[in-house]
């Protein structure tokens, strides 16, 4: 090994790991601190601005409307916003006998607060050791007094209750609720779910003032004609809005009584009746619709009696001429003439017309208490009897619907108790040919204005009332009875441009000996009811109703 080769070269050592504050390293450190600071800042900001939604959620839960309350039910108001039903909270007081320390003392204290209660019953209830209600819907004064007793056995329960300020006035429409606040009849039942959900009150089409006036007249004539019951419906012919629907007898909803007497049924919707001659309007309208007759079509040599199977069809008015025009048949309420028109129409056409105006099948309505017209088998004799309104049944509500369609120009309507927006009313579907309405309305007016007509007592000045009467004997097993009748008057007004249809039905009225009739078409008056027909009973009631409600309808609903 040579020395030359062992040369060691010494080079200056440069420490590559010497600490230098490089620009990059410095930034990393700054960013770390800044980053941590930034994270803290963001968290604090997030918290402060409540991105976690804590504050907002709290507010939301507090601002929830009382809908979440158990047993909540929306109020019900009439078309003018007057309360028909209002939910208010009430307190029920119960006693738990197990917790009573001194029974004697408790009874003495209770007697001071509620002096009219039966304390022998309360005492026996206390002995039974079973929880019982002492007072439901306690007044504020008595609540304060009873709570001041400081007895542990006295329990208070907050409940929601329904108040009906109009008492009996809308009993059939509104219906009842049970103790668990579940609707059991009327709108309370059919709108049960909606009433529990909606925030705003449910607005109806009915008018409290008109309902009151109509009910008052029905009550008055209930005693005059000693009827079993009565009903009246007032409806807007153009949109089916029911302004009034009264069925008498009725009941006070505030009493919360169980109504089991069938006489208290809603005659307007649930009562299924054979309505008689009011159906003749439909037969003639069907004839005009089919183009088979005109108002001046003559029917010559009409018999006074017709036999069809077991049935004998005869004229009520024995003086009715044998030659009549279509118009005269309706004005004079000719049975045989109506049969002839029915025969011209034949089963299919008459049936289809009656189906079209909705009198043959069950109506789809806002309340569940609706009657179903009794189904029957069509035949030659059935066609004849149906033509003048016998052997066919329907409800007064469906009769109102049928007359409304005929009067409004032939447009389909759906009777309703719920107020809708005006946009919904604009959709119109024609179901009867143009022109039929005008012809029928003119004849209906003549029934009221002419001497031959059967409804002269409804000729109230200023309202252009038109209408058709119907007197029907009630069906019994094996035939009909003359003793029990259903007298109906189906009216429309004003006939030049119909706006309202009104049905007045008296169930089993009797003649009155003392009632004084004031003639409308001529001067003078008449004492006592000469005949138990619609012309002398329901027409008089309808006339009196129109006289009373007319000014309200004419002034209040002028814009509608």
């Amino acid at each position: 090994m040579s020395d030359k080769n062992d040369n060691v070269t010494l080079e200056e050592y440069e420490n590559e790991f010497s600490y230098k504050k490089s620009k990059t390293n410095l930034n990393i450190e700054f960013n770390r601190i800044a980053f941590i600071f930034f994270i803290f800042l963001v968290i604090s900001i997030i918290y402060s601005i409540q991105l976690l939604n804590l504050g907002s959620l709290k507010i939301k839960s507090e601002t929830k409307p009382p809908i979440t309350k158990k047993n909540y039910r929306a109020d019900i108001v009439d078309r003018n916003g007057n309360y028909l039903v209002k939910t208010v909270s009430s307190i029920d007081i119960g006693i738990n006998p197990i917790e009573v320390i001194d029974k004697k003392r408790l009874l003495i204290n209770l007697q001071l607060i509620f002096p009219n209660k039966d304390y022998t019953k309360i005492s026996s209830k206390l002995e039974k050791n079973k929880y019982f209600y002492l007072e439901k819907k306690i007044s504020a004064d008595n609540y304060e007094k009873i709570m001041l007793l400081g007895d542990k056995s006295i329990k208070s329960e907050e409940k929601l209750t329904r108040i009906y300020p109009q008492k009996n006035l809308f009993s059939h429409i509104i219906g009842q609720i049970d103790d668990d606040n579940e609707g059991i009849s009327g709108l309370e039942k059919s709108f049960d779910e909606k009433l529990k959900k909606i925030k705003k009150p449910l607005q109806l089409t009915v008018d409290t003032d008109i309902q009151f006036l109509i009910r008052e007249e029905l009550i008055k004539f209930h005693s005059v004609f000693r009827s079993k019951g009565s009903t009246a419906i007032l409806m807007n012919v153009n949109n089916g809005a029911i302004i009034s629907m009264v069925s008498y007898p009725d009941f006070d909803l505030n009493l919360r009584e169980t109504v089991s007497d069938v006489n208290f049924i809603n005659r307007a919707t649930k009562g299924v009746y054979e309505l008689g001659s009011v159906f003749k309007t439909f037969t003639i309208a069907a004839g005009l619709e089919e183009g088979l007759i005109e108002t001046d079509t003559k029917f010559l040599n009409l018999e006074k009696r017709l036999k069809c199977g077991k049935n004998i069809i005869s004229e009520y008015d024995k003086k009715i001429p044998s030659d009549l025009t279509t118009e005269q048949i309706l004005i004079r309420s000719g049975n045989i003439g109506s049969v002839r028109i029915g025969q011209k129409l034949e089963i299919d056409k008459l049936k289809s017309f009656l189906e079209k105006i909705g009198v043959l099948s069950k109506i789809d309505f806002d309340i569940e208490e609706v009657g179903e017209p009794i189904p029957f088998k069509w035949g030659k004799c059935k066609l004849a009897t149906v033509s003048f309104g016998h052997g066919i049944t329907t409800t007064p509500l469906q009769l109102a619907k049928g007359y409304a369609i005929i009067a409004n120009g032939g447009f389909a309507i759906k009777p309703s108790l719920i107020k809708k927006t005006s946009e919904n009313d604009k959709i119109k579907k024609r179901i009867i040919k143009e022109g039929v309405s005008k012809k029928i309305n003119q004849i209906l007016r003549k029934i009221v204005t002419t001497k031959e007509g059967t409804a002269g007592l409804a000729n109230i000045e200023g309202y252009e009332v038109g209408g058709k009467t119907g007197t029907a004997e009630k069906a019994i097993i094996g035939g009909y009875t003359r003793k029990a009748k259903v007298n109906t008057f189906a009216s429309i007004f004003p006939t030049s441009k119909p706006k309202y249809v009104m049905i007045v039905l008296l169930d089993e009225p009797k003649t009155s000996e003392d009632y004084i009739y004031k003639y409308k078409n001529k001067t003078g008056s008449y004492k006592g009811t000469p005949f138990n027909t619609a012309g002398w009973t329901s027409v008089e009631v309808a006339g009196k109703i129109i006289q009373r409600i007319g000014p309200i309808l004419a002034t209040k609903y002028i814009e509608n």
């Binding site: 800042l41 900001i45 008492k167 200023g462 007319g550 004419a554």
Partner: protein, 100 residues
């Protein structure tokens, strides 16, 4: 560049925070007002119920017979008149035209 992004985000968050805080104040005020309205609504409902009951047709007729000697009269609709004011002249016409 990063500084710009960070500062933008920071400013945005700060601005959001300020806006949100002021919104919260408004929310609180709205909440208080809503609460006050709710109690007023409930009170109004009770007063309206009382009013509807006391002014119901049934009650009014009852008061009428109780406090007034004269009976209520029916209005004849044909006697209702319309007043039309045109060029400072008042024209009176029938509210409802007389029918046949």
């Amino acid at each position: 560049m990063k500084k710009v992004i960070f500062s933008t985000i920071f400013i945005l968050i700060l601005a959001t925070s300020l806006v949100k805080n002021s919104t919260k104040e408004i929310e609180d005020k709205t909440f208080t007002i809503n609460e006050n309205i709710r109690s007023l609504k409930s009170e109004l409902g009770d007063v309206l119920l009382e009013y509807n009951y006391l002014s119901s047709p049934n009650k009014l007729t009852q008061y009428q017979t109780q406090y007034f000697e004269k009976n209520l009269i029916k209005i004849d609709v044909t006697k209702i008149k319309k007043l039309n004011k045109k060029n400072s002249q008042i024209k009176i016409s029938d509210f409802i035209e007389k029918t046949r």
